[in-house]
């Protein structure tokens, strides 16, 4: 049972029964809960402090910031981990592969908040990039590992056939190995997405904005309504992003498999 990964999130491709239930129930639950909380928040009597946060403009800005961090992180993760993972499966890279995997493992094992804060203290940066870079480092492992495992688990006889009929090493990678590893890679990206959207709630600690800021405001100023709205929006966004990831897994995977 050691194949359960350290995030606890499922990194395995495929649609199991539980996943199917979630695929249907998740967006519905989000719609109902977020809708109800928003209706409640806007309908109730708000004082001045609450009114400053609970207004459409602020909520949209924070959600947008949150989403932006998630997208930037995912772009960095995919842009770095997929090529890196593919490279590490080449025969000449075998000796260095454990080094990179080790670094990614440490990145994942370290507490996300610690990585975020240390990056801030070392660089003095603030804002989007100060949040996105350490979160990307933290979320790198699932994609890196799944890319490597995905390519390694391609049937060797297919690689042999591809080489045997005259594909160049590059073609073998791009036309045979990568497409066949795609389900694993997509599963890894989904896991990374979930890590990214969750960790993005911490971005406000380095002035990166995001929905975590509403939680913080509500807590610091003792306004539970603001806190609840921020938290529920963050939860809703995370579930929607996860759902989109699941959908992407279904739609983008290569045909003819499974």
């Amino acid at each position: 049972m050691s194949d359960v990964d350290v995030t606890g999130l499922s990194s395995e491709p495929g649609l199991k029964r539980a996943d199917r239930v979630r695929l249907l129930a998740q967006p519905l639950a989000v719609l109902v809960v977020v809708g109800a909380v928003l209706v409640w928040a806007f309908a109730r009597e708000t004082d001045e402090i609450e009114a400053e946060s609970i207004q459409a403009g602020v909520l949209l800005t924070k959600t947008w910031e949150h989403l932006l961090i998630t997208v930037v992180v995912t772009a960095i993760v995919v842009g770095v981990a997929v090529p890196l993972g593919a490279m590490l499966t080449r025969r000449w890279a075998k000796p260095v592969a454990p080094v990179f995997l080790g670094i990614a493992n440490i990145g994942q094992a370290a507490p996300a908040l610690g990585v975020l804060v240390l990056f801030f203290l070392w660089t003095g940066w603030e804002g989007l990039w100060a949040a996105a870079l350490p979160i990307a480092f933290y979320s790198l492992l699932p994609v890196l590992r799944n890319t490597i495992v995905g390519i390694q688990s391609v049937d060797p006889s297919l690689v042999d056939a591809a080489r045997g009929i005259g594909m160049s090493p590059r073609s073998v990678l791009l036309r045979v190995e990568m497409p066949l590893a795609l389900p694993m890679v997509l599963a890894g990206i989904r896991t990374s997405l979930v890590l990214a959207v969750g960790t993005a709630t911490l971005a406000f600690f380095v002035n990166g904005g995001g929905l975590g800021e509403l939680v913080d405001t509500g807590y610091k100023l003792n306004r539970p309504a603001v806190l609840v709205v921020g938290a529920v929006l963050a939860v809703g966004l995370a579930l929607v992003v996860d759902w989109l990831g699941a959908l992407a897994e279904q739609l983008l995977g290569p045909k003819g498999l499974g």
């Binding site: 005259g166 497409p179 498999l257």
Partner: protein
Amino acid sequence: MTSDSTDSAVSGVEIQLEGVTKRYPGSAEPAVKDVTMTIPAGQIVVLVGPSGCGKTTTMRMINRLIEPTSGRITIGGEDALELDDVRLRRKIGYAIQQAGLFPHFTVAQNIAVVPGLLGWDKKRIAERVDELMDLVGLDASQFRDRYPRQLSGGQQQRVGVARALAADPPVLLMDEPFGAVDPITRGNLQDELLRLQADLGKTIVFVTHDFDEAVKLGDRIAVLGEASTIQQYDTPEAILANPANDMVAGFVGAGASLKQLTLLRVRDVDYPDLALTADVGESPSELRARLARAGDTYALLVDRRRRPQRWVHVRNLSAATSLANIGRPVGDTVSTQSTLQDALEAILAEGGRAVVTGTRGEYVGMIDIETVTGVLAQLREEHESAGDAGDAGDGVDGDGTDAADGDGHGGDAGRAGVARGDAARDGAGRADGGVDGDAGAAADSGAGTS
């Protein structure tokens, strides 16, 4: 097209291996040791040997999936080791066990890979794909857009062969391509390969550990021992008749005489046209009258293209208003290209006699157990009359060669060799002379059997 010369059909080129050796770092003994052999143009050469003997390694050095440590390999006179390895492989067809089809590509995409790599234009590729699917007996309109997992094992192998042939390479390497399918499908695929080869005349290097397959397919067989050392390299007839040493004899096995049945094909023997055939449209009463006149009890129902459908007994006819849907389906059939061994199996399965079909799957006659035993008896007779005159020799051409079987039960390798040789030529001739419907008919039967 005339076919009195075999060269007319040859499109393959000669392959020469000279002192080819493969030594892996860290192991004392070479995996392949000093192999020198000539693979003649347009022939099927089977490398056969126990697993781990290095036969696959030897084959993979020809397209340089494995680089030889030393030695020389020429293909059609060109030094293979001088060429760019990727370009070299595009000129060599490659088919492996379980076909190695890319599961994320459709059948058409799989076949189109090499033409695509060679930069053919789309239209030419599409035409070639259809042509090849036709050639290997798959209906293009039906199978073109399917994915490999939607095909049976036999169909996948056909696609694998089509892919290997896609760019019309002079040389084909086949590594146990039929190893993973059931015996009946395997027999069909072997028959089809021989049919294709009669048309195409490629140089085929075929690796297998199944000696029966080697005997059936090979123009020549190389029996390999440890480190791929050649124990015997000769025609199947010669190897069956005169195993060079104990190792080869052990590989040939005990049933050498029965194996000779694989060297004879149904079209080489006289099979009688025993069955009374009837079109499905014929009225039952009319058929009953015809059966009575012929003194027969069974009739074979055929479709419009005279392909056998069902057996009808005379007593089914009295109650029937139409011939549609009565009788029992015809089971295993044999084609004129089937070996006598396959025919024997079908005869036993069918209870004494089996339907023989022609190249388009049409009824041409019946073969029964007496026919086969008659052939065996004839072989033995010829063998005895030939006496000990043939001093075994090297048995390459096998004419009048004394068979090496001591049990007096088997046939004469030489006779079989001649018959088989004729058959091959004959096959090439027939295929050439046939109308273009030939491949189409094969396509039908192919889709049906797998």
